[in-house]
Amino acid sequence: MGKIKILNPGMMTTVQDLGRIGYQQFGVSVSGAMDQIAAILANVLVGNKDNEGLLEVTIMGPKIEFQDTCLVAITGGDLQPLINNNPIDMNKSVKANKGDILSFRGIKKGCRSYIGFSGGIDVPVVMGSKSTFLKAKIGGFEGRVLKANDILSIGNINTSINDLSGIQVPADFYNYGGKNIELRMVLGPQDDYFSQEGIETLFSSEYVVTNNSDRMGYTLEGPLIKHKEGADIISDGISMGAVQVPNKGTPIIMMADRQTTGGYTKIGNIITADLPKVAQAKPGDKIRFKKSSIEEAQDSIKELQNKFLQLDKEIKRQKESKREIIKTSNWDIKVNGISYSVKVEELKN
């Protein structure tokens, strides 16, 4: 089992997986990676299962020392990762040797990067998940953001590092993190609390991401969305990507660490396929909303699934083509009186 040491934690680095499912009825937030597509890619590239624990880093990346040899992959927003001060590719698995230092030069595109480690971050599974839920101080590494000098364990690898290093995601697979973002939205559950004018404002205006944006939610600034009467409702459930509009009239997009329930009107919900765009938005980025039907939203999830199935095939192909045969030799051997003809392939590593 390998270890990594945090030399500098960056702005906000936490352990996440795909979230704590099944506890919302008890008031426990789902948490998990904000950008689930990037998180899955990081895990796939290092041979982990999709839901393995990894690091989510925000805007300013951490500085990490590898205390053992490890396979890593960095996905999501481009914070310009470096190993020993040399740039490394995003969306590609890279072998890091004992003593190597991973750092980030600074933000180039997007907002959040994900660092996948072969074997995954080894932290206790709390209520079915490794995700950090900061408000309740549970999960992840001691229920908190990482600090300098933290030492984290990496789980055991089930494949060979050499088999996977250099595997990459095709360039057109992941493309989130623009400064002008269009988010598709399905109306409801409380769109009928808004005036026609309010709905028109929502779909015709540009909103700016404010500094008051974090893992709980993104507060936007822009033209006010008018209610018919008030914004208060009897508390009900809040799903990922819900767009809450309190009395003030500016929207808040509810994200991974959102409360499970709330008492403000929700005009609509960002569709699942567009949530990575939100996760990669940073203060100052501009957002426009576009109305979507539920059929379109669900079809786009199916498309994503198909894209990942294609990716599995592509990665398998890359792994196989790495098995370059340098030399073939044939041997005739005899074991316990039985003769065997054995073909040996020497592979390039």
Binding site: I21, G22, Y23, Q24, Q25, F26, G27, V28, V126, M127, K135, A136, I138, G139, V186, L187, G188, P189, Q190, I234, S235, D236, G237, I238, S239, M240, G241, A242, Q259, T260, T261, K266, G268, N269, I270, I271, T272, I294, E295, A297, Q298, I301, K302, Q305
Partner: protein, 251 residues
């Protein structure tokens, strides 16, 4: 309660069933009935359900269950809801040490309502409180049914840290803080029970639709329960709620 349940689109992976626009026992019973029969149905594609005061959010996986399919299933399930026999809700007893350093505001509550501290305790322990929903923080119960005779406004300035287990009153509501948190409730006592213990098999003690009752205990009993909890020998007191009207299987 609405005559016809509203099915509200809540994004591409959740539906809200809204049963009314008020907080009533009747609506809560309906929510409990739908929740239990949904859980029992083991419908593939349903990820989790979140009951609240007057609605039920159903999170689902659209790759397994499309919106229209789920809608149809839910409507079918709702049609048969009155024929399903439900177990009586459970009452769980919350042993509580009232007053003193455990409940520093109990005198406020007594003074505000012109009654004695003993009467506050008597009134507070004489009800079975319906757990409408859990939220705000993990395991925090929104309770109904407090006697208005002990209603007291929140503190003028909230405390920065209230110890987990504190039992308090805010306006006409009573509640228990599951974890240390800031807050402005009038604290009248504390329970040694842990409402939220992330590493316990049942991480959350309470469940929406069930009831709790408070029982006054002495400091010795408080310490004894605490010890038993640590050893794992404490036996939670739970019993089926007695008074009728809650079983949808009847008639």
């Amino acid at each position: 309660m609405y005559e016809k349940t509203k099915y509200l689109v809540s994004g591409d992976s959740a539906i809200t069933m809204e049963f009314g626009n008020s907080i009533t026992d009747q609506i809560n019973r309906k929510i409990r009935a739908v929740s239990l029969s949904l859980e029992k149905s083991n419908t593939e594609g349903i990820v989790e359900i979140v009951p609240t005061y007057r609605s039920l959010m159903i999170h689902y996986d659209p790759l397994v269950l499309k919106y229209e399919e789920l809608l149809e299933k839910l409507k079918e399930l709702e049609k048969n809801i009155d024929n399903i026999e439900l177990p009586a809700p459970e009452v769980i007893e919350i042993p509580t040490l009232y007053g003193g350093e455990y409940g520093p505001d109990i005198e406020n509550v007594a003074t505000h309502n012109n009654i004695s501290v003993e009467e506050v305790i008597k009134i507070h322990t004489s009800q079975e409180y319906l757990i409408y929903m859990l939220g705000f923080t993990p395991g925090f119960p929104y309770l109904g049914g407090m006697d208005k005779k002990i209603a007291t406004p929140r503190l003028q300035s909230p405390r920065t840290k209230i110890p987990g287990g504190s039992v308090g009153i805010a306006g006409e509501q009573t509640g228990i803080y599951p974890i240390d948190s800031p807050g402005g409730w009038q604290l009248i006592g504390r329970t040694p029970l842990e409402l939220f213990a992330p590493n316990r098999e049942d991480a959350i003690l309470l469940k929406a639709g069930n009831y709790i009752s408070f029982k006054s205990i002495t400091e010795d009993e408080y310490l004894k329960i605490q010890e038993e909890l640590e050893k794992g020998t404490y036996k939670y007191k739970r019993y089926p709620k007695q008074d009728g009207g809650v079983n949808h299987g009847e008639n």
